[in-house]
């Protein structure tokens, strides 16, 4: 019966237009990249190393994140303590934490003058450097461990309480429970978690820019940036772009076989929990939770302690960059919301699968590849300085689309299923329908998606690095301060940036709930 409406509705027409525009934008950009690349002959051995590093750092980051997340998730699943809910919420924070801020935090703890190396020196141990491949991996684990924990924790909570009750009544030891209940769950959940982290790390740019570099720690994204910015070798940048696209497509093919969970999702808490064995299990769980919480909180606390007192003394250009960034983030978020809502409403009618594919296209095009392509396309008409800000806004909006769609499509489907016929039968159309039905009913996912888009755009330090230096965004300005070793000012900027990113997310999310 759900054959629904049979003419091409306005919602579907809108969705088709947006999907087509996206396809043209991304396809055209990629085509420009491919055309400029003129084959892969321009690539040298350095570029081969970048590909190799991209793959193995992503694999190692994913393996470490997933492996370390298992004990943390298990401890969180079976223990109850004050602050647990707050900790689980906090585990979601790295998703919207600006990368450059986290890097500042990690430098504050693991850098040359950080607490870890202070301790090492005091104990006569060799220092560890945060720069190089180990720093890249560390930062990737910092970002992805918490998200992996949330996903695996969700897997634990998805095991029905009755199973654990049955296990208890049969007198299962922790080992038996592991074998019969937990390991099958992990086998189902872990591949998706691993792949989600792997995909994120494949297009890692900011981390490699700040902590990596050199022959042994350059990702393909970073190599594109270097070819573009330092050598101004567009052909090589485009060749590298082609490789990046191939890598992403390869990973997406892999992903088709494995269900990838929503990387930001699954924060909800159910009340039941597996049996919590006492004795050394208890001590172990306590240590694991403390270590994970410390790993997450310490860098943020360190950068906050260093930067907060300095904020009043920040020079005026920081405030200019802040205002610029906030405006850009808001435009990006609005654009992302309009695009993803249009797509989701069209998709809710369930007849245009290609529209969804178009919405997921950004996943195969990394920001730097898109940036390179847009530059190549626009070069005859506009200079790079004029391009920087609009292109950044547009690319951030497009990059937020897959997340927005993940939040909005299920909600739009529910809305269509529950109230689509009622609205149709009352002739609710156009603006009246948007205002009276769609926006109020989809307020929550819209707020959430808008918050994500705003926070991600606010903290983004990607495509802007290709172009601008005279009108920096706040993250770019922070990076420039870092590079000139003005660490106190950089820390203050980091605190500011973190506060604004979280603040933007909070305002949108809250607004959506109140709508």
């Amino acid at each position: 019966m759900a054959a629904g409406v049979f003419r091409l509705t306005r919602a579907e027409a809108g969705g088709a237009v947006v999907a087509l525009a996206l396809t043209v934008l991304i396809g055209g950009t990629l085509a420009a990249v491919a055309w400029s690349a003129q084959g892969l002959s321009g690539l040298g051995p350095w570029d081969g190393r970048a590909v190799w590093f991209t793959l193995w750092q992503a694999a190692l980051s994913a393996t470490l994140s997933a492996a370390l997340a298992v004990p943390v998730a298990r401890a969180l699943a079976r223990r109850r303590f004050p602050g647990r809910a707050a900790l689980v919420t906090l585990l979601g924070a790295p998703f919207i934490l600006p990368v450059i801020v986290a890097i500042m935090g990690l430098i504050a703890v693991f850098g040359r003058s950080g607490a870890v190396n202070d301790a090492a020196r005091a104990l006569g141990l060799p220092e560890v450097s945060i720069y190089g491949w180990q720093g890249v991996i560390l930062a990737h684990v910092f970002f992805n461990l918490p998200l992996s924990v949330r996903l695996i924790l969700h897997g634990w909570q998805a095991i029905p309480a009755e199973r654990f009750r049955l296990a208890q009544s049969l007198g299962f030891s922790p080992r038996d429970t592991g074998r019969h209940l937990e390991r099958p769950m992990l086998r189902a959940v872990l591949p998706g978690v691993w792949l989600a982290v792997f995909l994120v790390c494949l297009t890692s740019f900011t981390v490699a820019l700040a902590l990596g570099g050199g022959p042994r720690a350059t990702t393909v994204e970073l190599a594109i940036y270097q070819a573009f910015r330092f050598d101004f070798d567009l052909g090589r940048a485009a060749s590298l772009g082609l490789i990046q696209i191939a890598v992403c497509i390869g990973a997406m093919m892999l992903a088709r076989r494995i269900a990838i969970p929503a990387a930001f999702g699954a924060g909800q808490d159910t009340d039941h929990r597996p049996a919590a064995p006492g004795g050394w299990h208890r001590i172990g769980d306590t240590l694991v939770i403390a270590a994970a919480a410390g790993f997450l909180i310490w860098p943020m606390a360190a950068v906050t302690a260093r930067g907060l007192p300095r904020i009043p003394a920040l020079p005026p250009e920081v405030w200019e960059a802040t205002l610029r960034s906030v405006v850009m983030a808001l435009i990006s978020a609005l654009l992302a919301l309009v695009l993803s809502l249009t797509l989701a409403l069209a998709l809710a009618r369930g007849r245009m699968r290609w529209v969804e594919t178009a919405g997921m296209l950004p996943l195969i095009a990394s920001p730097l590849v898109l940036g390179t392509g847009l530059f190549i396309l626009a070069r005859p008409w506009v200079g790079p300085q004029a391009l920087a800000l609009p292109v950044t806004v547009a690319i951030n909006a497009v990059m937020a689309l897959p997340f927005g769609l993940r939040a909005l499509i299920p909600a739009a489907r529910t809305l269509h299923g529950d109230y689509g016929r009622l609205a149709d039968s009352l002739d609710l159309r156009g603006l009246a329908r948007l205002r009276r039905v769609t926006l109020p009913r989809l307020g929550r996912p819209l707020g959430f998606a808008g918050g994500l888009a705003a926070a991600l755009a606010m903290g983004d330090l990607g495509v802007i690095t290709l172009f601008a230096s005279d009108r920096p965004t706040l993250p770019l300005h922070l990076y420039q301060l870092m590079n000139s070793y003005r660490m106190a000012d950089a820390s203050a900027c980091a605190v500011l940036l973190m506060a604004i990113s979280f603040g933007l997310f909070w305002i949108f999310d809250r607004g959506g709930r109140l709508a």
């Binding site: 109230y419 009622l422 039968s425 009352l426 002739d427 009246a432 205002r435 009276r436």
Partner: protein, 234 residues
């Protein structure tokens, strides 16, 4: 607005293994029950009139006007669904107001009209409440009040009172009969309950074996049901 002649002219619908054909007319102002086994296509028949399903072939006409290509909201039809007849985030007055103007820009006389129909279904003073703060019976009354407000020539009911208890359901059917009288609507009502059919509908369309049969008098049909219906009624 007034009574209408509702015609199914050579209607054929096929969806996978499911098929339905309908070739019949519902006389002006009639009240007709739609009865048949589950999955036989009762709701399909209503969806065709409501505009939620496109027939593969055939036309649907109301008073001679072909409505087959009209979108649901432009049809001379009001429909009550099994559930979700009210928007939960809108107030009672807004839910009713949608029946007059979808953009809710109501004039003063229209507002007065909303208050008036609300009083007519015995719910005066509930204008600013949300559906969640009403009982199931009260929610049905609001939905019926909107039918009264829209006063469309054809009224379709897809078991909207199935979730109510027997006493409440009888009350709603009585209210429905009054409203149908007032608006002089042609009524098509899907029901599982032969008692409902006898109470409200002098005529019945039997949907069975992929065919919607022309309406026949309800009592004789139920007193001496054909084999398919007999198996269904038990």
């Amino acid at each position: 607005m007034g009574a209408a002649l509702l015609e199914f002219d050579g209607i054929r619908v096929t969806r996978g293994a499911f098929h339905l054909s309908a070739d019949l007319a519902v006389p002006t102002g009639a009240r007709v029950a739609v009865i048949g086994p589950s999955g036989s296509g009762k709701s399909t028949l209503l969806s065709l009139v409501g505009g939620f399903l496109e027939p593969d072939r055939g036309r649907i006409r109301v008073d001679g006007q072909d409505i087959t290509a009209l979108p649901p909201g432009r049809r001379p039809v009001s429909m009550l669904f099994q559930d979700q007849n009210l928007f939960p985030h809108l107030t009672v007055a807004q839910n009713l107001g949608l029946g007059l103007r979808p953009d809710l820009r109501l004039s003063e006389p229209q507002r007065a009209r909303v208050a008036q129909v609300l009083a007519e279904v015995g719910l005066d003073g509930t204008e600013n409440r949300r559906p969640a703060n009403l009982s199931g019976g009260q929610q049905s009354r609001v939905a019926l009040a909107r039918v009264l407000l829209r006063a469309r020539p054809v009224l379709l009911l897809d078991e909207p009172f199935a979730a109510l208890g027997p006493a409440l359901k009888a009350e709603m059917l009585a209210l429905l009969a009054r409203i149908a009288d007032r608006t002089n609507a042609t009524v098509l009502m899907v029901t599982h309950d032969p008692g409902d059919a006898r109470r409200l509908a002098p005529q019945t369309i039997l949907v069975d074996g992929g065919v919607a049969h022309p309406p026949v008098p309800t009592d004789p049909l139920l007193d001496d049901p054909p084999p398919g219906l007999r198996a269904y009624l038990g």
